[in-house]
Structures are given as C-alpha cells and as structure tokens.
Amino acid sequence: ESSRSRRRKDWTKLIYNSSASPESILGVDGSGDTSSSGVPRMDDDDFFTVKSSAPVKAEEDLDRTKEPVNADELKQWEDEELLDSIRHLFITGTPSQ
C-alpha cells in the first residue's frame, strides 16, 4: 500500500506495453505463490500426473462486476483518524488539508 503512493506507476507502459496480467499490475494476484505449476516433478513416478494448471479453488473465478467485499479494508473504518482523513473530500470539510 505504501509503496504505491511513493513511486508512481507508468500506467501507459504497464497497460499497453507489457503482458502482465491486470491482477499482477495491481498487485492483487492472490498470495504470491508463483510456484510454476504444471511442471511435473522428478519424484512423480506415477504414470498419470495430475495436471494442476487449473487453480484448485472451491469456487470458480466468476466474471463479476462488483468486487468481493474486503472485510479487512472495511474494518479500518472503525478508526477515527481514518474517518477524519477524508473530511476534505466533503463540502463541509476544510478546503484541502
């Protein structure tokens, strides 16, 4: 989170001149487990190997418009300081802190 505000991303480059997935550009691609799946290990001496390129998820990755609720992000709003930090975005707030 903090690194985002420190250094600006070159969005034009990231979007048009890279093949990084949208998730990785935004840094939201899961738990960062980049273990190359699909590569059979040497000790797999079974004749059939389970192809694990499809992520094993209980629920499928829906094509949805609304982003799933991020409970942690919402919990932050219990903090008075954070609540006050966006006051300047309202007409009642002081003109930019």
Binding site: R4, S5, R8, W11, T12, L14, I15, Y16, P22, E23, I25, L26, V28, K51, S53, A54, E60, D61, L62, D63, R64, T65, K66, E67, P68, V69, E73, L74, W77, L83, I86, R87, L89, F90, I91, T92, G93
Partner: protein, 365 residues
C-alpha cells in the same frame, strides 16, 4: 495481421461481456476460446449462453457458433436492432449481469430498446438494479444519452428464487458527446435506497439508522429512501439490501452496496455498505470504479475530439478493457497523473481521441 485482419481473438471466460460488446459495436467478428477448458466442468455456463441468446435477440443478423464442448464461441455481429424484447434471466446471475452490456449497446440501436428482464434483481456479483437506475444511467447522461432513459423496477427478486422484473427503456443517439470531466469536486450529498422483501419491513429502517450513524458525521444532506415492495411485487425469496451513492458538487458519483447474508443483522449490512462507500469516495476520481469501463468505452466512441476524464486507480477489469479496446478500435488512452504536484493523490487523467462512432443503424424517422 495478414491472415485474419478482422477477427478479434480472445481467450478465457473472464471479460466475456465487454468483449462481445466491442465486437458488436465494431462489427468485427470475435472468437473466444479456452472457455474453462481446464475446468472440471468445462465450457459456457447457462448464464453465458443466456447472454448470447439475449444479444441475438437485441440484434439482427447476429450469428453465434458454439463449439461442441462449449469451450469456444464465434460471434459474427449483425446490427443492433433494439425494439421490444422480453428475456428471462437464469437464476445463476442477476439481471445486472445482462443489463450491463445492454446499456453499452442500446444507444446505438436502430430503434429505441424496451427490454423486460425477469430474474434476480440484486446480488453480490453484479450491479444491482438500484445501482443501474441511480448511478449507471446518470453516467450515460454525461454522454448525451438521456431523454427517455429509464429503468423501472416493477418487482424485486432476491436470490435464490428471484421473481423480479425490470423494464429498461433506452433512447437512441446518433453519436455520443465528448466529455471533459476533470474536477471531482466535493461530496455534497448522499442518497440511498434501502429495501427489504419478504422479511420484517423494519429491517429497512434499521439499515437506514445504522448507515446514518456512520455518514452523518460528514454531511447533513443524507436522504435514505425505504423502498417497500409488497405481495407479488416482492419476488419469491426473502432478502434486503442497502444501496448508497454520493454526489459531488461537480456531479461525480460514487456508489456502494451491501446485501443481506444469513445470520448477519441488518445493522452490519448497513455498516458494510456505508464503509464501502467511504472506501469508494477515498479512492477518488470523477467516476465510480464500477463504471470506469462504461465511461471509457463511451469516450472511445465519442466524436473526433479529445475526451478527458479523471479516474482513480483502474480496476483489473478496466486494465483488460483498455487492452481489448485497443485491439478492437485501435484507440489507446493517454494516462497521466491527474495532479503531478500532489504526490498523495493516486488519481489519473485518462484522455483519448474519440473514433467518431456514428450510429449507422438508426432509422431516420
């Protein structure tokens, strides 16, 4: 480039809707493969097939081929016809799933669209009918699609049984306006719709009260409407939800929503919606995150002039959309920090040269 200059190629089940929309608007056929090809249950889902059927009916002359396994489709677009269409949506997705792409296409139809959709009206995955009515449609007005633009919520339908019905009326335009929306302004009011069907009607008021406890600290101009539907009009399943939207001095809108979950009191649902709205407002920009794609699409289609809009950080959907739109229309946006002197704002200024899309389908009356 040399072999198939006009066929758009995409892979995967994600982003299906905007890709179909881009194909139909551009008139270029689209082939989408690898649709859940590695899944235990491969191929198209019932709602995706239903969407294809709906697009077939809203257009004229569209040819859709689905591979035997359902993992690949080819769509050759016809013209956007409009007119009167009735469609029953499967209960696996809400009517919002179907309305979102339709909203992008309908202004460019031959005749004004009157679309009746039946099914679930509010769920967790897609824009609810309340958001579409109060936030999506005003976004269309920025582009000059306004007279006669309406969404009527005739019956509400909560998951899992649905039973809701909405009617979407959309005028046709010759061309959309170019926008220059760079000042997000300050939030001047908050509006909301609280609804409860087939549960204690007090739930609606309890949500309103809890939401006020969070939002009242910012501004006094808060009006949360308790929308009551009775009997037949309240669908087949119990449920409730709170939809909130903020409006700024310059007309920038942000929205958030939370819907009932089993075992969670209405107060918590209201808190969830209220905090989600604050998160949304904090993210900045002139456009709600969930409407970035719609607005950017209309900017691309705008007249041959430079359109500009200030947005918060793009969503994953927006990033993919920007790539797909470049593929389709050849239009790339210029994306620059909105305020280079202010290191704190993540806001970006998106600008592009419109393609000057003219509604050639429009019948001249």
């Amino acid at each position: 480039m040399a072999q198939t200059p006009t066929i758009l190629q995409f892979s995967g089940h994600q982003y299906l809707r905007h890709r179909l929309v881009l194909s139909i608007l551009s008139g270029k056929p689209v082939r989408i493969d690898k649709i859940r090809s590695d899944d235990k249950n491969p191929g198209l889902r019932d709602y995706e097939v239903s969407l294809l059927r709906l697009l077939e009916r809203v257009t004229n002359g569209t040819i859709i081929e689905i591979s035997v396994t359902g993992t690949a489709i080819l769509l050759k677009p016809g013209i956007i016809a409009g007119g009167s269409v009735v469609h029953d949506c499967p209960l696996s997705r809400s009517v919002g799933y179907f309305l979102e792409p339709i909203v992008m296409l309908a202004p460019f139809a031959k005749k004004p669209l009157q679309l009746t959709l039946r099914g679930i009206t509010t769920d967790d995955n897609d824009l609810s009918v309340d958001i579409i009515r109060t936030v999506t449609l005003p976004h269309m007005q920025l582009f000059g699609v306004s007279e006669g633009l309406e969404l009527r919520i005739k019956k509400r339908g909560s998951p899992p049984q649905g039973g809701g019905e909405v009617q979407f009326l959309c005028p046709i335009v010759r061309q959309v306006k170019t926008i220059n929306f760079v000042d997000p302004g300050k939030v001047k009011r908050i509006r909301g719709i609280s609804h409860a069907v087939r549960v204690n009607p007090q739930f609606s008021n309890r949500m309103i009260e809890a939401s006020r406890s969070v939002l009242n600290r910012y501004i006094p101009d808060i009006y949360l409407y308790s929308d009551v539907y009775k009997g037949e009009d309240s669908g087949k399943s119990p449920g409730y939800a709170l939809t909130l939207l903020s409006e700024s001095t310059t007309g920038a809108m942000h929205c958030a929503e939370a819907i009932s979950q089993p075992g969670v009191p209405p107060e918590d649902i209201a808190l969830q919606a209220s905090r989600a709205l604050l998160t949304e407002i904090k993210r900045g920009g002139c456009i709600d995150r969930q409407h970035q794609v719609l607005v950017l699409l209309m900017m691309v289609l705008g007249s041959e002039d430079v359109g500009r809009c200030r947005l918060g950080e793009p969503t994953t959907r927006t990033i993919q959309f920007l790539r797909d739109v470049k593929e389709t229309f050849g239009t790339a946006f210029k994306i620059a920090p909105a305020d280079p002197s202010d290191q704190n704002t993540p806001d970006l200024l998106f600008s592009c040269y419109g393609v000057g899309y003219i509604n050639a389908n429009r019948s001249l009356a």
